[in-house]
C-alpha cells in the first residue's frame, strides 16, 4: 500500500455498528456474573423476613443445619459484624474513592426488621437444591408490629428545590389555571438477570463476580464493610443482564455472600430469586405529585408549582428528584419546586431509569396537556409558546437546545395536523383512536473517568477501563472511539471493561458513560502516541532516525515528521521497525457531576413523543399502536444501538403507563405480586410501531465528539404522551399510573 494514498474515509463514529460482543451474546458464550464456576464453590440462599416491621424473636435452624450438604445457616452473630459504609453521594464524583450505597445498614446488623424480605439468615450448602431446601427449613419467629404501609403519601416537611418570582401570587392572578395531583405506583426494575454474587477469598484478598453497574464503587463499598484496603478487593462485571439503576449501588446480598465465603473458606455463589428482586434491591418508590399551572389566555405560563412526595424506607432518605427538569423545561417568571419524603416499611428505593425526571415529566407533561385543553389550544403550540431563552432555573444558557425542532419535526412525521381535537372523534378499522404528545428532557453530564489505550505491533489496539456495558453498547462505543482516532478498522480494537484491575471508571448511570469516556480515551491515545514518538526519535532503527521528538507528530494512528514530506508511518509498522511489541498511554478526565464548581451552561437533552392509542370500549381493550419520537441528544455515536435504546425506553414507557405496579399488602407490607406473571412488563405483543428520529446537533460543551447520551431520555414523557392520548380517545383523565381498565369504563 502506498503511504501517500489517501486513507479510505473512516465510517465508524456516527455509523451503525453491530455490537462487537454480539457474537458472544448470540452463542451463549458471554459470561454474566452467575455464569462463573469456581472450584469448591458453595451455594447460598437467603431467608427473608415474612413481616415488614418488628423484631426477630428466634431463629431455629436445627433441622436445616442437619440436612444433607448443608454447611451453615448464617445469621446475626455468625460472623464478625460488617462496618456500615459511610455513603456519600457526592463521592461518586471521586473516580477512585466513590463509596455509595442506598441501603446503608449492613446485613444482619441488628434484630430489627424494617421491610418484608429483609435478609435474616443465609443457608449455605454444597448444591443449589440443598441450599434452597435448607433455607425453606429455617424457622424464624418474630415480634411483629404494624407496618407503615399507608398508600397516601404525605410529608412532614417540604424542601424547596428551586424557586423564582412569586408563584403563589401569579397563580392567584392567572386567568387560566390547572391544579392536579398525579400518582405513580411503585415500579420494580426487574432486569431479567437476577442479582448475583460469586465471592471468593484467597488469604486476605476478595474476588467478587457481581451483577453491578459500578465495579469501582462496589469494590470500595465491600472494602469499607470488611475493613480491608481497596487493593485487596477485585470486582468483575464483564457482562450485565441490565440493571436500569437497580444494580448501580451494592445491596446487602453481596457482602452476605462475601461474609459466608470468608466464614466457610470456600467460594460462595448467591443468586436472588425473582420474588427477592422485589424486596431488598431497590425500586422506584410510589410518588404523588401536585402540579399547579397558571397561564395567560394566550398560553404564556405565569406560574408553575411542582410539589412531590416519594415513599422511602424507614432508615434511608432516598429522594426521587422529580423536579429535575421542571425549572428549565418552560419559560415562566414564577416557579417553585418542593420535595418531601414519606417513611414506609419498604426496602430502600433506588434510581430507576430516568430517576426524578421520568416521574416528574409524567406529571408536568400531563398537566401541560390539561392546560392546553383548558386554553382550547393545541398542546404542541402551547409548548412552542413557552420556549425559554435560557435555563431560568440556573440562570445559564443551554449548551444546545433544539426542543422546538423536536416538536415541529415530530408533529410533521406523526401527521399531527390531521388530529381532530374533539374527544373520541377519530377512528380506524372500528377502533377509537387517541392522539397525544408530550415532551422529554434528561440531563447531560460526565463522570470522571480514566482509560488505557495500547497500540500493538500487530496493528491492533486495546482500550481498557473499569466501566461497564449494561446493554447500552459501551463495548462497541469504546472500540469506535479508538478505531476512529487511530484510523483502523473496528475489528482491530480489543475492549476490556468491567474489572477493577483496569483503570478506574464510573458507574453506568445517568446516561453519562459515552460522554465520560471521550476525553480519557482521547488522552490515552495522545499519551500512547507521545510514547511512540519518544521511542522513534533518535532510534537508529526507526524510519525517523535522527529526528527530534518535537519534530514528530502522531495523528490518526500514524507518526509523521512535522516538516518535510517524509511519509507518515502507521503505528504498527513503526513499532515493528523499533522492535517493540506495544506502547500504551493512560488518560484521565474530570467529570461535571455532581458539579464541583458552578457550570457555565445548562446541559440537557430534549425530545418529543407523539403517541397513538387504540381503544375498543366494547372490549375495554387499550393498546399503544404507534409512537413517533424525536430526540435531541447531540451527536449519535452508534445509531443502531441508540435507536434500540430509545425504542426500548418507549416499550418500558408502555409498561409504566399501562402495566407496572408493585402492590404492597396493606396488612403485611409484602409485595404481593412479586413475580413476572403478576408484575406485568411489556411483552413483544405490547410493543407499538415506533419511529425514532435523532436531530443531531453536536454538543461540544460536554465532550469533543458532541455526544450527550441516550439511555434514559426515551422513557421521560412517554407515559404522559400515552395518557394524553388515552384522554383524547376516551375523555377520561386518569391521573394515577398505571391506568386500569375499570377507570376507563367510567
Amino acid at each position: 500500500m502506498s503511504a501517500t494514498a489517501e486513507a479510505p474515509p473512516m465510517r465508524i463514529i456516527g455509523h451503525p455498528q453491530p455490537r462487537i460482543e454480539g457474537r458472544l451474546k448470540v452463542t451463549g458464550a458471554a459470561h454474566y456474573a452467575a455464569d462463573h464456576h469456581l472450584p469448591g464453590m458453595l451455594y447460598a440462599v437467603p431467608v427473608g423476613a415474612t413481616i415488614a416491621k418488628g423484631t426477630i424473636a428466634a431463629i431455629d435452624a436445627r433441622v436445616a443445619e442437619q440436612m444433607p450438604g448443608v454447611r451453615a445457616v448464617l445469621r446475626r452473630g455468625s460472623f464478625p459484624a460488617l462496618a456500615a459504609a459511610k455513603p456519600d453521594f457526592a463521592s461518586v464524583a471521586d473516580l477512585e474513592g466513590t463509596v455509595y450505597v442506598d441501603e446503608r445498614r449492613p446485613p444482619f446488623d441488628d434484630d430489627t426488621v424494617r421491610y418484608y424480605g429483609q435478609y435474616v439468615a443465609l443457608a449455605v450448602a454444597d448444591t443449589l437444591e440443598q441450599a434452597k431446601a435448607a433455607a425453606d427449613a429455617v424457622r424464624v419467629t418474630y415480634r411483629a408490629e404494624a407496618p407503615e404501609v399507608d398508600p397516601a403519601l404525605t410529608a412532614g416537611e417540604m424542601t424547596v428545590k428551586s424557586e423564582r418570582g412569586d408563584p403563589d401570587a401569579a397563580f392567584a392572578a392567572a386567568p387560566v389555571t390547572v391544579d392536579q395531583r398525579y400518582g405513580m405506583a411503585t415500579e420494580t426494575h426487574n432486569p431479567i438477570e437476577l442479582h448475583a454474587t460469586i465471592a471468593a477469598w484467597e488469604g486476605d484478598s476478595l474476588t467478587v463476580h457481581e451483577a453491578t453497574q459500578g465495579v469501582v464503587n462496589h469494590r470500595n463499598v465491600l472494602a469499607a464493610m470488611f475493613g480491608i484496603p481497596r487493593e485487596k478487593v477485585q470486582v468483575i462485571s464483564r457482562y450485565l443482564g441490565s440493571g436500569f439503576g437497580g444494580k448501580l449501588f451494592p445491596w446487602t446480598h453481596s457482602p452476605l455472600a462475601a461474609a459466608a465465603s470468608r466464614q466457610l473458606g470456600r467460594p460462595v455463589k448467591l443468586v436472588l430469586s425473582r420474588p427477592m428482586m422485589f424486596h431488598a434491591v431497590g425500586q422506584r418508590p410510589a410518588i404523588t405529585q401536585r402540579i399547579r399551572l397558571g397561564a395567560e389566555r394566550d398560553g404564556r405560563l405565569t406560574s408553575l408549582r411542582h410539589d412531590y412526595v416519594n415513599a422511602t424506607s424507614l432508615l434511608d432518605d432516598y429522594e426521587e428528584n422529580c423536579g429535575e427538569a421542571t425549572p428549565h423545561m418552560y419559560a415562566t417568571p414564577n416557579l417553585r419546586v418542593a420535595s418531601g419524603l414519606a417513611k414506609r416499611s419498604i426496602g430502600t428505593p433506588t434510581s430507576m431509569r430516568g430517576p426524578g425526571a421520568v416521574p416528574g415529566l409524567y406529571a408536568l407533561e400531563s398537566a401541560m396537556d390539561e392546560l392546553a385543553i383548558a386554553l382550547d389550544m393545541d398542546p404542541v403550540a402551547l409548548r412552542l409558546k413557552n420556549e425559554p431563552p435560557l435555563d431560568q432555573g440556573l440562570g445559564l444558557p443551554f449548551s444546545s437546545r433544539h426542543f422546538q425542532e423536536c416538536l415541529t419535526l415530530g408533529a410533521e412525521r406523526f401527521g399531527w395536523a390531521r388530529r381532530d381535537r374533539r374527544i373520541g372523534s377519530m377512528a380506524r378499522d372500528g377502533l377509537t383512536l387517541g392522539w397525544g404528545m408530550a415532551a422529554c428532557s434528561w440531563l447531560a453530564e460526565r463522570f470522571p473517568c480514566s482509560a488505557r489505550v495500547e497500540l500493538r505491533a500487530d496493528g491492533t489496539a486495546r482500550v481498557a477501563a473499569a466501566v461497564q456495558d449494561i446493554g447500552t453498547g459501551t463495548y462497541t462505543i469504546m472500540a469506535q472511539m479508538v478505531a476512529e482516532a487511530l484510523a483502523i478498522p473496528l475489528s482491530r480494537v480489543e475492549v476490556a471493561l468491567g474489572d477493577t484491575s483496569l483503570p478506574a471508571g464510573p458507574v453506568s448511570g445517568g446516561s453519562m458513560m459515552s460522554a465520560s469516556l471521550v476525553a480519557p480515551i482521547q488522552a490515552a491515545i495522545t499519551r500512547a502516541g507521545e510514547a511512540l514518538v519518544a521511542l522513534a526519535a533518535g532510534n537508529p532503527a526507526a524510519p525517523f532516525a535522527g529526528a527530534k521528538a518535537g519534530a514528530l507528530r502522531f495523528a490518526e494512528g500514524r507518526v509523521a515528521a512535522a516538516e518535510g514530506n517524509r511519509q507518515a508511518v502507521p503505528f504498527d509498522q513503526l513499532l515493528r521497525a523499533l522492535g517493540q511489541e506495544a506502547v500504551s498511554g493512560l488518560g484521565r478526565a474530570e467529570g461535571t457531576f455532581p458539579p464541583k464548581e458552578k457550570p457555565t451552561h445548562s446541559k440537557h437533552s430534549f425530545g418529543a413523543h407523539f403517541v397513538e392509542v387504540t381503544w375498543q370500549p366494547e372490549l375495554a381493550r387499550l393498546r399503544v399502536s404507534r409512537v413517533v419520537s424525536v430526540i435531541d441528544a447531540g451527536r449519535i455515536l452508534n445509531p443502531l444501538a441508540a435507536r434500540n435504546q430509545i425504542e426500548g425506553s418507549i416499550v418500558m414507557g408502555v409498561g409504566m403507563a399501562l402495566f407496572e405496579e408493585t402492590d404492597y399488602d396493606p396488612r403485611s407490607g409484602a409485595p404481593v405480586n412479586a413475580s413476572l406473571a403478576d408484575y406485568v412488563v411489556a411483552t413483544n405483543a405490547d410493543a407499538p410501531a415506533m419511529e425514532v428520529h435523532f436531530i443531531e446537533y453536536p454538543d461540544t460543551h460536554l465532550n469533543a465528539l458532541g455526544a450527550r447520551g441516550v439511555g434514559e431520555i426515551g422513557l421521560a414523557g412517554t407515559a404522559a404522551a400515552i395518557m394524553n392520548a388515552v384522554y383524547h380517545a376516551t375523555g377520561i383523565r386518569v391521573r394515577d399510573l398505571p391506568v386500569k381498565l375499570e377507570q376507563l369504563l367510567g
Binding site: 453491530p18 455490537r19 460482543e21 454480539g22 457474537r23 458472544l24 451474546k25 448470540v26 452463542t27 451463549g28 458464550a29 454474566y32 452467575a34 455464569d35 464456576h37 433441622v63 442437619q66 440436612m67 444433607p68 450438604g69 448444591t127 443449589l128 437444591e129 440443598q130 431446601a133 427449613a137 426487574n190 432486569p191 431479567i192 438477570e193 437476577l194 457482562y239 450485565l240 443482564g241 441490565s242 436500569f244 443468586v271 430469586s273 425473582r274 446493554g471 453498547g473 444501538a641 434500540n644 435504546q645 425504542e647 426500548g648 425506553s649 418507549i650 416499550v651 418500558m652 413475580s675 413476572l676 406473571a677 412488563v681 411489556a682 411483552t683 413483544n684 405483543a685 405490547d686 410493543a687
Partner: protein, 160 residues
C-alpha cells in the same frame, strides 16, 4: 413425607447438543439448573425460575420448553439442544446471525431464550405478519425492550 436428611440420587441420561451424559442427580434438580450448574452450559439463563420470562428456553426433542419448569429426571433419553448447540462450528445459525445484524438485543441476557424460541417458531404454525411473530414471541420477555429488532431478525430469517 420423605426424610429431609436422606440424600436421594436418581440416574438420568441426557443427550445435550449431541453429547450423551449419564448422571446421578438430586431428583429436585431442574433441567435448567442441571445445564447450568452441573454441565456448565451457562448460555441458558435463569430469569424467574417459574416459566414466566422465557430466558431459559431450550429445545427438547425439537420443541421449545422452559428449562426451569422441567425436572431433569423427567427427561431421560430426551434430545436436548441449547444455545451452545445451535451454531455449526464457527458458522452461526441464520437466526443468530440475524440477531447480531439487526441488534436484536441490548444486554444479551434474554437472548439465548429469544433465539431458541425464534428457531422453534420457524417450525410452528405462525402467520406471516409481524403481529403473528409478536404473539408467538410474547413468552420471552426482553426487559431492554428490543422487541422491534427481534421481530425484524425473525422475519428476515423467515423470508430467506
Amino acid at each position: 413425607m420423605p426424610d429431609p436428611h436422606s440424600e436421594v440420587q436418581a440416574a438420568v441420561t441426557l443427550r445435550v447438543n449431541g453429547a450423551e451424559h449419564t448422571l446421578s442427580i438430586d431428583p429436585r434438580t431442574t433441567l435448567l439448573d442441571l445445564l447450568r450448574e452441573t454441565l456448565h452450559l451457562t448460555g441458558t439463563k435463569k430469569g424467574c425460575d417459574h416459566g414466566q420470562c422465557g430466558a431459559c428456553t431450550i429445545h427438547v426433542n425439537g420443541r421449545r420448553v422452559n428449562a426451569c419448569l422441567a425436572l431433569a429426571v423427567a427427561h431421560d433419553r430426551d434430545e436436548i439442544r441449547t444455545i451452545e448447540g445451535l451454531a455449526e462450528g464457527d458458522r452461526l445459525h441464520p437466526m443468530q446471525a440475524a440477531f447480531l445484524q439487526k441488534d436484536a438485543y441490548q444486554c444479551g441476557y434474554c437472548t439465548a431464550g429469544q433465539i431458541m424460541s425464534a428457531v422453534a417458531l420457524l417450525d410452528e404454525p405462525c402467520g406471516p405478519e409481524d403481529a403473528d411473530v409478536r404473539e408467538l414471541m410474547s413468552g420471552n420477555i426482553c426487559r431492554c425492550g428490543a422487541y422491534a429488532n427481534i421481530v425484524a431478525a425473525i422475519q428476515q430469517v423467515r423470508g430467506s
